[in-house]
Symmetry: C2
Subunit: 322 residues, 2 copies
């Protein structure tokens, strides 16, 4: 039905090998022969069957992107740049949302082992045995699954420290921290550590809530925090959704921002999404995306990679700090 290399060969009166060579632009083909083949291809409207190509070459030229949800500013932006970067290397991106379900994650791991993809970017919240993950090269963001899995992250510790000090320098005296505790060892935990260190350095009492938060439970955690620490006048919020919820909760409680309460968020800025103007530590998402793809390509090609890449964040002033 579909025209194959054989049809083209017959039409052009050459062998299939020759057709293949023309398709792949090999120089070792006579001008006249090439001409004939090209004509035949056009006449028969031939296009290569990539499934066969891939089987033969044993590569899919596809990488998987596993995110908790794509429907989220951070991951959507990440996906955008990952796709863009991957396409520069001739790779396509298979999108997989784990929906924060562990079996969904395992499903994709199975498919990786079945060589549906040449490699994968893992942005995920569950534990996996490193051994299960060796079906293909993997890179990750913000966390490591093991020695063989490089990852990209941002300067969580320093950035958080600076952000908190900024609030203190600008008058905050009772600074709190609210975050969603990662389920697994993750660089995100550095934010909490930074907070605690600053509190110690300034001899301030920590006002800290850092729990495992399920998607949708942000509101509860925020009200708990506000109830527990009604006197805070500066808050570091770790994470985008949380910062949105916190901002809304604080304003609807009648807090004057930033006069009565300052807010800084890690990851709170998505101007293009029309989101409110919270002072934020902005992650270099584009750069993270591109780096992670380049790392993955290197892994696929069996080249040396750096196990941990730390990128610089940017402190962006909004209207929620003095």
């Amino acid at each position: 039905m579909e025209t194959t290399i054989k049809d083209v060969a017959k039409y052009a009166g050459v062998g299939v090998g020759t057709v293949s060579r023309v398709i792949n632009n090999e120089k070792s083909v006579g001008a006249k022969t090439r001409e004939k083949v090209l004509e035949a291809m056009k006449a028969l409207n031939y296009s290569r069957n990539n499934m066969a190509f891939r089987l033969r070459k044993n590569e899919t030229r596809i990488i998987a992107l596993l995110v908790p949800v794509i429907n989220h500013p951070f991951f959507a932006k990440l996906a955008y740049y990952i796709e863009d970067e991957a396409s520069k290397f001739g790779y396509s991106v298979l999108l997989v949302s784990s929906q924060q379900k562990v079996d969904k994650e395992n499903e994709i791991i199975t498919r990786i082992n079945q060589r549906e993809v040449d490699g994968a970017v893992f942005v995920t919240h569950y534990m996996h045995e490193e051994d299960d993950l060796l079906g293909c090269p993997i890179v990750s963001i913000d966390r490591s699954f093991g020695e063989n899995i490089p990852y990209v992250t941002s300067d969580n510790y320093d950035a958080t420290k600076n952000a908190i000090k900024y609030m203190i320098d600008h008058g905050a005296e009772r600074v709190g921290f609210i975050g969603s505790k990662p389920l697994v060892p993750s660089e995100v935990s550095e934010r909490e550590r930074a907070y605690i260190d600053v509190m110690e350095e300034y001899s301030m009492t920590p006002r800290l809530v850092n729990e495992v938060i399920q998607h949708g439970e942000e509101t509860i955690v925020v009200s708990d925090f506000i109830e527990k620490y009604p006197d805070v006048d500066g808050v570091f919020v770790s994470g985008y959704t949380l910062s949105q919820v916190f901002y809304e909760a604080a304003t609807s409680l009648g807090k004057k921002i930033p006069d009565e309460m300052q807010i800084v968020s890690y990851d709170g800025i998505f101007k293009q999404w029309g989101i409110s103007n919270i002072t934020s530590v902005e992650q270099p998402i584009e750069e993270m995306a591109r780096q992670v793809v380049r790392l993955l390509i290197k892994k696929i090609r069996n080249e040396e990679t750096c196990q941990r890449t730390v990128l610089k964040t940017k402190f962006v002033l909004g209207t929620t700090t003095r």
Copy 2:
């Protein structure tokens, strides 16, 4: 290197056909034989090479999703539900951002013709010859490329009409319309038509800007509009980004909303993205996504499909109407 069906067969002391039958859960295999094969598979840590499988079956079990950008609430949400629905049918989603570039779109069309995917969802703004698009089944959103390409849309005309009447009923006397004109015939144009019809019905003067807007140019168009029609007291904004920009511009111009100016947006609501509370015609994105996938699966299976599917929107009151 990787263990194949042959290795398993040898290990289990059976033929490769038998192994294949076990893998595919065919009943016609003796219990003991099955046992042996299963053991061998486990012992050798076998997993099927899907590239070979696909070549043999002539299907990739992948569908492509072509969007202008994934980094946008509407498309991200769409992608989320498309992936979810597709996975129910055993399909994966290949993500392709056209970045609003016509050559990027053509690139993916080529790849479709190369049988990288079994089908595609096209959400795109450029013209394409229907003939070029017949490499595999395609479905679309909001527009039709031709008789062979079914699409899903929302009730643009009725919803817009109702929304505008709502503003008029609530006191608006000089109602404007601002939108981004589609480059191609699209159901989105029904919004403009609805606006014009209402203006006529009420004998009101149209205050209309509907241009082709490049990504990033929204601000200019909005200021043009405001300059051109400084007296509007009600505006229908077609599209998400535009509505964000418009809302910001209006407030920063000191317009009292909704007292001096009402705003209704098509597609302006993305609560989970922390976006402001604009009265909106809300598209049933989840349902659109699921329908579009089901249509595509039907096309792939050569079943009958409905060429045009119209889904109901919801009018959601926010704080920008009286």
